[in-house]
Symmetry: C2
């Protein structure tokens, strides 16, 4: 279906690219530079360890804005509620949206509510859009990536995807895996404030680390190499991935990002990122190469290098 959408439907919208929300649209009004983005959230189940559809909807849009280097300012909230959805659950979700907005320092400023008949929805869908201000002169995009750039990963991998899957399939592990759902705007603001020359930012949502970096390699033209030993995956996530036959490098996250910037600035950036506990312990995981084959490669723990590609199979549906 996605292929059909991409080939036959999206082109009709003109310059719209409903691409899963990786990129914000950037525009100028009266000299002010702004970013604008939207995402619908249809996650199932609505509540999961570490978050719910409300915190996910707020953080998702906050992070889309932050990844374009914008300071998130205002979010809109549009609810599609299935008739009969318990008010107590709605109150819980609204409370968690308010909390997430306060934590990210954004305002939920406008909204809409529609109710659909029973059987014509799935409890609750939430669409957020966001506006942010771009207050620096950098072009934060794959096109700015240069050979010699270092790549920082802001924390451990795979917690959101595994948390959703465990909840949905009724799996239980020794430790409960909590989603990493969190806002990334504060660490990005701190990196910008330190006047680091950020070349590219990308949050690791659907498709995980490997997909994000492969897309950056393709869009920038440059090869990227990462080291397996520097990429942190928690024991519980690793165990769950082994059991389920998943590769944690491709599992979804909702509070992790990669930062690409000149190699000489990597240490300073790591020091700054360490101050933001929600993003976990950051590590330098690789670098951008001179070669222009649009290739992403992984140096394994025994020194063997293999190529990583985009996932060809089905991804887990309704993870966000």
């Amino acid at each position: 279906m996605r292929e059909l959408l991409e080939q036959r439907v999206f082109p009709l919208l003109g310059n719209t690219a409903p691409d899963g929300g990786h990129d914000s649209f950037v525009f100028d009004v009266d000299g002010a530079k702004l970013a604008f983005t939207t995402d619908s959230h249809v996650v199932r189940p609505l509540f999961f360890p570490g978050g719910d559809i409300g915190s996910l909807a707020v953080n998702g849009t906050v992070n889309d804005l932050a990844m374009s280097g914008a300071r998130p300012l205002y979010l809109s909230v549009a609810l599609i509620i299935e008739e009969g959805f318990p008010i107590a659950q709605l109150e819980r979700v609204m409370g968690s949206m308010k909390l997430a907005a306060d934590q990210a320092g954004v305002s939920l400023s406008t909204g809409d509510t529609k109710v659909v008949d029973k059987g014509k929805g799935d409890g609750l869908f939430i669409t957020t859009a966001g506006v942010g201000a771009i207050e620096h002169g950098l072009t934060i995009a794959p096109g700015s990536v240069r050979p010699g750039d270092g790549i920082i990963l802001s924390g451990d991998l795979g917690r959101h995807g595994i948390s959703i899957m465990a909840e949905r399939e009724g799996l239980s592990f020794e430790t409960t895996v909590e989603s990493d759902c969190a806002p990334l705007n504060s660490p990005v603001a701190a990196l910008l404030e330190a006047e680091l020359e950020i070349h590219c930012l990308r949050d690791l949502t659907r498709g995980g680390l490997a997909t994000a970096l492969k897309e950056i390699a393709m869009d920038s033209g440059h090869d990227i190499q990462i080291r397996e030993s520097d990429i942190r995956v928690g024991d519980a996530v690793r165990g769950a991935c082994e059991m389920l036959g998943l590769d944690p490098f491709y599992v979804a996250n909702e509070g992790r990002m990669v930062v690409i910037l000149p190699g000489a600035q990597v240490e300073t950036a790591l020091e700054i990122l360490r101050k933001f506990s929600p993003t976990g312990s950051p590590t330098a995981i690789g670098f951008v190469k001179e070669e222009r084959n649009r290739r992403l490669s992984l140096e394994g723990s025994l020194g063997v290098v293999r190529v990583l590609d985009l996932l060809s199979g089905e991804q887990l549906p309704r993870i966000c």
Copy 2:
């Protein structure tokens, strides 16, 4: 359910008022004044005479921005598609969104697509958000309304609501009633360009003319009086309303507005509005009174004045 939402759920969102999209949120960034709004669209059926969910979603957000006096610039488009929804229908809707955006002079600039399992949606839901620029010094809001202000209605009433209902219930009238779905930003821009002192604008969506004016009377504190003989209702709409027991003053529109401005400027405003055929023939329908009882009254054709109130019963669901 709406009552429960208003009392127990919306307050949790803080300053968000998911009020059906009457008002845009207005903010400043670096001296630029902007408006921001969102609406989810769950109209059923998706296609109706005079429009479809796509044109409705674009015009609805364009009009929300225009009613705050903003020039609509950019729209986001978030689709929630039920698995198995025919691609041909999706192409048709996307085409009509593109056309509506071109007609309104706005850009569909960012988007997202989610697919939900069969039976967990209803074909297609579309959430649009919009950003516009406010380029004048007026405060266009009920609080600016003054005694002696004239009230202009931009065209005939009730076409959207009757068109949807006829399509949904399989009713047929002698003439097909086409929705009035249309963008209102060009006539608003022309009024602003003529430097008219617009006090308030409101598009007549859910709840129709009477609800819009009663809300303005309540929010401004002033009484409003309108004349039945100056309010145009087409014969087909009137006939359908009589058959269905509906009052056309309360039926939804999607391309009609009221303009409230000083009485001395009414004639100039009417001349300008007549140039915009999509809004139909505008008429001066009433005025704002000195009295501050927050009352809306209607002078009937025989000179009898009666009070109009908010609808107490159920409104037609899923009309937008």
